[in-house]
Symmetry: C2
Subunit: 253 residues, 2 copies
């Protein structure tokens, strides 16, 4: 059974400040919990007691037992406090946040960098897309949405456990450091040469601005070049996740 202490602990993890304090976050849903068991350090799994006999729950219980992860069954009355979605999907995990440091990103492979990204769905989708294309290095600026936010976690569809997400405290300093290491910094914007003209090379950062304000003046000063996604239609702009996806596709061609 889910005791009050654990229930309270889980409900605290809905808030960023507690996720940071405990270095833990919540993962909901069969697919994501399975991925977490494969790739992350899971502390506890909570399963809706009424659904414990469903085959997919049984699989999770078996996998958790093999890894010595505690499984707790909860009552329907507990769900309101712990669920991360409107309709609880029956299983939730508490896992340790991933400990990605700057060094992890500096392996020479492309880096997808995001400045002040605000929309959790956009960030989750970008992580999932980057994982599809085998681009595992993701750099987030200060003031970006928390990658351990429940909606981000959900929309990565498990990909967050396979990518390396480094949260910079000051992205212009991180970019400076990468430039010293021989990285080229390419900004993506609505102006600039066409993405088609890009000559692929190792050690490249692809930097995207925020949904509302684009690239900041300070970040622009660090760029080696600016590229844009060619379009011959009339829309004023593309959604950020769409721009990032097209860039990921192009650089993986």
């Amino acid at each position: 059974m889910l005791n009050e202490k654990i229930k309270k602990h889980i409900s605290k993890l809905h808030q960023k400040k507690y996720r940071e304090e405990f270095c833990e976050f919540l993962i909901e849903g069969v697919k994501c919990v399975n991925e977490a068991l494969d790739c992350a350090d899971v502390d506890i799994i909570v399963i809706d007691g009424k659904r414990r006999d469903e085959p997919q729950m049984k699989n999770i219980i078996e996998k958790a037992n093999k890894k010595d992860v505690q499984v707790i069954f909860c009552a329907r009355t507990d769900i309101g406090d712990i669920k991360t979605t409107e309709t609880f999907s029956g299983v939730l995990a508490v896992a340790d946040t991933l400990d990605i440091i700057f060094e992890d990103l500096r392996d020479g492979k492309p880096i997808i960098a995001l400045e002040k990204i605000k929309d959790p769905g956009n960030l989750g989708t970008i992580i999932r897309t980057a994982d599809w294309f085998g681009l595992y290095n993701i750099l987030l600026s200060e003031e970006s949405v928390d990658p351990y936010n429940e909606k981000v976690v959900r929309s990565t569809m498990g990909s967050m456990f396979r990518t390396k997400i480094f949260q910079s405290k000051k992205i212009v300093h991180t970019l400076e450091q990468l430039k010293k290491d021989g990285y080229t910094i390419i900004g993506l914007s609505s102006e600039g040469a066409s993405l088609d003209s890009l000559k692929l090379q190792s050690k490249t950062v692809y930097l995207f601005g925020s949904e509302s304000n684009g690239l900041s003046k300070e970040a622009r000063e660090k760029l080696d070049s600016i590229l844009s996604i060619p379009g011959n239609g009339n829309a004023e702009s593309l959604n950020l996740a769409i721009s990032a996806a097209i860039c990921c596709y192009h650089i993986s061609l």
Copy 2:
């Protein structure tokens, strides 16, 4: 002032059945209302009375006056019934639905076809992205989300007025008709040859399956070929709007 009769009419338009009955839909926000005034038949504009002196509202009022569109100012107490977003953006329009028939799609240019798409954000983003790449022909199957759904309209960012969205009553019949007209039907799926191998030609339909079930068996029987988006990472799938965007980019290269 906003009288009860108009307020009631607007609040009905939150529901699909009334949108279909009245052939009208709601558009909220400065950008979308401006686009609607440029491209659609707008019946009424409602503006938050307390914001009527803001420059962007003044622009809308001026444009509406030139087009003989009635502008009504509403009280803060009216907003709850009419708004389409959590935080009302200050301006809302009632416009006639666009009257797109099958013939409008048969101009030989590429058609982006979507089978049972359910997520309004995905549909809106696909419309916006297609407009960016100058791909204006969009075919929706039966049981797809209503393109006049408020969230779809909002996420098109005005692009829905520039694209031609045809809602088929039975997509397999529509595909058959297009094949008779000489169209090639290409399905996008996780299996199939790489999108890179695509030889561009006129009269092509690019068909995408639903978020949860992919392409249906019946639709698959109409395909001339199946293509997939190449990825060398580990994510199991791509988000539908992302797949469609990469396809749009590729065919407009």
